[in-house]
């Protein structure tokens, strides 16, 4: 089920909220209801995949209990390995199997052995990358002794399947919601409800009014990458850059808002990333829950920066490589991850050896340019498309000669520029404190209604594919 669908807004959400707050005095029933409705939400697309979600939940719940009860490190390690193998195995099968088979065929073909493997056509269960990571964090945190095991299976199932963040994050750790899960008997905090509404409507408008508008610029241009030239190449790039940000930030804000409406606080996922002054700063602002996951569960265990510069740079590249590969099973994603790893290393080297601090606007512009160039790889369906696009923006495919105001309008220049100004200069949703007045209520309602009316052009969130 999509957040931006009539069935969600007009049926599912009102029913869930009414039932959720009506059951305030029965915490166990409430949890049951939350798990049930989350499974309905998830199963709306392919009910079969709810079994996968259930299997992942069961394995990690019992592994978690085992880890907590084990007295020896050996036993704890063995159980943690079981959790890692089951979660990563599931991810490997559903997400990477086809890619490995295809790559193997290409390699063998290049070595003149011909294609030997059948490439399996496996449907990728939506949100699998997110919930496997969530369950992994639970097992690892238990192993490290950073959290206590969930109070009951229902508590854990509710944490894993909670519908606001199930499909595309934010990646919530058990420690983030552990205490909140203990206070299920409380009645609604209206202040939190208002902030929930605010986040939800802001997120929805980011997705529907901005991301979907700039998508109308980017998508047709990128349908024919061979036709891209200098201006069209840059227009498509800028439009896609905005689309991706507003799409994902919009989803995150909606998820956070929905969480608030249910009485939960989720961590922030975006902090105006296009206002970052360096690549390092960018990764502290973009998909923050993934960045902190990669830092805490990969970078630091690999040694972090404790073993000298060289090892820390190696770790950065490894982490970003895996981060890229997590986003998608394809060479373009791997290259995108490696590119960001290299940029982070260059960033570190620059700070260490040169260290000249540029004025803030120049630093923002330069970082933005680097990030944009990375999105070419991120969006391209294959390396050939990426090459065509890079050639276009470098002017190697020629420059449009008949540029007029009409052409620029057709390229959606105005929409893209508006979106750019918005993400550079508007305050972040987390930093802006709305005044809850009648005027705000009217504006918020009208924006909400306008968004709901645009559901007729149903468009899924970009991050659902990961």
């Amino acid at each position: 089920m999509l957040f931006n669908s009539y069935v969600f807004i007009l049926l599912f959400l009102p029913l869930v909220l009414i039932a959720w707050w009506s059951l305030a005095h029965w915490p166990q029933v409430r949890l049951c209801f939350l798990v049930g409705s989350s499974y309905i939400f998830y199963g709306w697309w392919h009910w079969e995949f709810t079994l996968l979600l259930l299997a992942s939940t069961l394995v990690d719940y019992y592994v978690g209990i085992g880890i907590h009860r084990s007295r020896t490190t050996y036993a704890k390690r063995w159980l943690l390995s079981l959790s890692l193998v089951s979660n990563l195995g599931m991810l490997a099968y559903f997400k990477y199997c086809g890619f490995f088979a295809e790559s193997m065929n290409q390699l063998l073909d290049a070595l003149r052995f011909g294609t030997v493997m059948n490439v399996p056509e496996i449907i990728l269960p939506v949100g699998i990358s997110f919930y496997t990571f969530q369950t992994l964090t639970y097992s690892i945190d238990l192993y490290r002794g950073q959290v206590k095991p969930a109070r009951s299976f229902l508590h854990f199932a509710a944490y894993v399947s909670m519908f606001p963040q199930l499909i595309a994050g934010p990646i919530v750790r058990y420690s983030d919601v552990e205490n909140q899960m203990q206070e299920l008997g409380k009645s609604p905090d209206w202040n939190q409800q208002c902030h929930g509404l605010w986040f939800f409507v802001v997120g929805m408008s980011q997705k529907i009014l901005i991301a979907d508008s700039v998508a109308k610029v980017a998508t047709p241009l990128l349908a024919t990458p061979e036709a891209l030239q200098f201006v069209t190449g840059w227009s498509a790039l800028l439009a896609y850059t905005m689309q991706l940000y507003f799409d994902f930030a919009g989803y995150s804000n909606m998820a956070i808002g929905l969480g608030m409406m249910l009485g939960f606080s989720f961590p922030q996922n975006f902090d105006s990333p296009y206002q970052a002054t360096s690549i390092q700063n960018f990764w502290r602002r973009w998909h923050m829950t993934l960045s902190s996951f990669l830092r805490d569960y990969l970078y630091i265990p690999l040694g972090g920066n404790r073993f000298g510069k060289l090892i820390s740079y190696r770790n950065l590249i490894v982490v970003m490589f895996l981060g890229g590969f997590w986003h998608g099973a394809g060479w373009t994603f791997i290259l995108w991850g490696l590119l960001h790893g290299c940029l982070l290393v260059l960033n570190g080297l620059y700070r260490e050896h040169i260290g000249i601090v540029f004025p803030r606007p120049i630093a923002i512009a330069f970082t933005f340019l680097c990030v944009m160039l990375g999105w070419v790889l991120f969006r391209s369906t294959d390396l050939n498309m990426a090459m065509l696009w890079y050639r276009a923006i470098l002017g190697l495919n020629g420059i449009e000669r008949d540029l007029s105001f009409g052409t620029l309008a057709t390229l959606g220049f105005g929409t893209t520029v508006f979106a750019s100004l918005f993400c550079w200069f508007a305050p972040n949703t987390w930093n802006y404190r709305p005044k809850f007045s009648l005027g705000t209520a009217i504006v918020l309602s009208l924006v909400f209604v306008l968004c709901v009316m645009r559901f007729d052009a149903e468009s899924p969130f970009l991050y659902f594919q990961f």
């Binding site: 009539y6 069935v7 007009l10 209206w190 202040n191 409800q193 208002c194 509404l197 047709p220 349908a223 024919t224 305050p427 930093n431 802006y432 404190r433 709305p434 005044k435 809850f436 007045s437 009648l438 005027g439 705000t440 209520a441 009217i442 918020l444 309602s445 009208l446 909400f448 209604v449 306008l450 709901v452 009316m453 645009r454 559901f455 007729d456 052009a457």
Partner: protein, 383 residues
């Protein structure tokens, strides 16, 4: 600490402007006075609900696409289903054969077919005609005449076998056709039709419809239709044919329009719809069991459009599957299937299209020649 909103410049400017007049001052401060969280949340939900209800009520009353039961105003778009039903009712007693399909079959001339088959046909091609429409129309014919037609010609578009697109809401809105297939329409599609009451596109169309109704100039424009149907159901592209004559017609633009639409259709399509293939098989087998000869054919695309679709979508794959499936249905039901999907299958002329998908008379006549060759003996040798 986050910045205070009082420091937000636009709000300060509004405050300053509002202070100028007493009324606006009062209004501004009324709107600006903070509410308690609970009344605020209730206000947001109530205003949103009220607005949505207003939008739904307007769309239902104006009913610009003729999807609902209200008929207060003239629909914004011409509805081929209801017009064809009305035309058919005028001559159902003399009609012996039906031409079914989408708008791509609307130029198949019953008079030309009569010369070939000696049967009087009616062109019942409807916009976005899909197998559920064919099933409804054949049933409607039977209900009107008391028997099945002697011959049915079904032009199938690959896009009409889409597994993603729901039934056309105009089928659901035409009571005489919808009653024939009511039990076959999934409830989810009925829900989709109702949810369209909130759609922006429909809201804009409702406003246009109202404007057409109340503004004299606009309604004059509406009175000049771009297309009309002859009594036998054949379409006449009044505007486009006039532009073609004057040499003003932008053929490239028309092809690009179809290209955009079909790229989206084939981009979303995942496989041939088993439900729709089931409907098609039901129509064919019902007809053949009642002694009605059915001829299935795949409709053609303009070569330019065809090559773009083949390059950018899985069109060829779907078309290949459609040919195999239609041949199988024809074999199982003792019907005929003729592939007319490319110009070389009927020696067609790429200039005789009105856009990327709609052939004009010279091409539809060539198609009929291919479907019903001149010598009656050869007619059955096509299979």
């Amino acid at each position: 600490m986050p910045p205070e909103n009082a420091a937000f410049v636009p709000i300060r400017i509004c405050n300053m402007l509002a202070d100028r007049t007493c009324f606006s001052h009062m209004l501004w401060h009324r709107f600006h006075t903070p509410l308690q969280p609970k009344p605020f949340a209730i206000a947001v939900v109530s205003i949103a609900l009220l607005c949505l209800l207003c939008v739904a009520a307007l769309n239902w009353l104006v009913n610009p696409y003729r999807q609902y039961s209200s008929h207060l105003l003239a629909p914004l778009i011409r509805d081929s289903r209801s017009e064809k039903v009305a035309l058919f009712e005028l001559q159902h007693s003399t009609t012996e054969g039906l031409i079914l399909g989408s708008s791509r079959t609307m130029k198949f001339e019953p008079s030309y077919l009569h010369a070939r088959t000696n049967l009087r046909y009616f062109n019942f091609g409807v916009n976005h005609g899909r197998p559920e429409d064919f099933l409804a129309i054949v049933q409607f014919y039977k209900n009107s005449t008391g028997h099945f037609p002697k011959s049915v010609l079904i032009g199938v578009d690959v896009a009409s076998l889409n597994d993603v697109v729901p039934n056309d809401a105009r089928l659901v809105a035409e009571p005489k056709l919808y009653s024939c297939v009511r039990n076959k329409i999934p409830w989810a599609e009925e829900y989709d039709r109702l949810s369209q009451l909130f759609s922006y596109q429909q809201f804009v169309s409702s406003i246009k419809s109202l404007r057409n109704c109340f503004v004299a100039n606009a309604s004059e424009a509406v009175k000049k239709p771009m297309e009309i149907y002859d009594p036998d159901g054949v379409i006449q592209y009044l505007k486009r044919q006039a532009e073609r004559k004057e040499g003003k017609y932008d053929f490239e633009k028309a092809i690009q329009h179809d290209q955009k639409e079909l790229m989206s259709v084939f981009g979303n399509m995942t496989k041939l719809s088993q439900r729709r293939l089931g409907y098609l098989k039901e129509v064919v087998s019902q007809c053949e069991q009642q002694g009605c000869q059915v001829t299935l054919f795949l409709t053609a695309h303009h070569p330019t459009l065809r090559s773009t679709l083949s390059r950018k979508t899985d069109f060829e794959h779907f078309e290949r599957d459609a040919k195999i499936t239609l041949q199988r249905i024809a074999d199982e039901c003792q019907a005929r299937f003729v592939d007319l999907s490319t110009l070389d299958t009927f020696d067609g002329d790429p200039n005789e299209f009105v856009d990327g998908i709609h052939p004009l008379e010279p091409n539809t006549r060539l198609m009929i020649d291919r479907l019903f060759p001149k010598s009656p003996e050869a007619q059955y040798a096509i299979q």
